[in-house]
Amino acid sequence: MSEGTIKKFMFVNRTAPYGTVYALESLEVVLISAAFDQDVSLVFLGDGVWQLKKGQQTKAIETKNFSPTYRALEGYDIEKLYVEREALDARGLAEEDLIVDVTVLSSAEIGKLMEEQDVVLSF
């Protein structure tokens, strides 16, 4: 692979924001990937949709609320955020409950999108 290779990277977020460190540490890779000028997208599946929930308050669990970082992604030219419709529905969430603008897709549509990727990182 030559220096100027641009690959399609998809970060698949499947876990709730707190409880495990996956969400926070996956966001760290996403931010680093921005420096490599790749074609980056993020997908939120299952409990992963909670990562984007508005109004997170983490003081009582003495854990950093990192959800504002999702709003900063745009500044890194990371603008492809996909959220699974079935996951939102199952949790009684709607698009307006989320802190950033996203594209809501069905599981099947997300599956198709995954097929087009070069690299899929699942956390």
């Binding site: 692979m1 290779t5 690959k7 540490e25 490599f36 790749q38 690299v119 990182l121 956390f123």
Partner: protein
């Protein structure tokens, strides 16, 4: 084929590290190349030389070190994840090196396939 490997889980607690190791061994035996193994999340715990498993169990850390020595596989531990969990140069097992997340992204770019082992 050139494989990049990502290990997201710690040793013994989870099978991810075992599976990744066995995958690497099998791939190398078939003549493939392992471009890099990147350890992230609790996966960084695969790199501490302070590990002392019981005699009758596999030594997961030593096994990775040996793979690195025998096949020149690049074993990279994420610095941010490592520092959070008390992994530093002074307790790093042979063959591992600590570096940044850029090494993972680079692996995704350079390898033909990036294979993730995790939960």
């Amino acid at each position: 084929m050139k494989f990049g490997i990502l290990v997201n889980e710690g040793p013994y607690q989870h099978q991810a590290s075992d599976s990744a190791y066995l995958f690497c061994k099998a791939a190398l035996a078939k003549g493939h190349e392992i471009q890099r193994v990147f350890f992230y999340h609790d996966g960084v715990n695969n790199s501490t030389r302070l590990t002392e498993p019981p005699q009758d169990d596999r030594n997961i850390v030593a096994r990775w070190s040996k793979l690195g020595a025998d096949h020149g596989v690049d074993l990279v531990v994420c610095v941010a994840a490592a520092l959070r969990r008390g992994i530093k140069d002074e307790n790093l097992a042979p063959g591992f090196r600590i570096s940044g997340l850029g090494q993972l992204v680079e692996s995704g770019i350079q390898a033909d396939r990036l294979v993730v082992f995790g939960d």
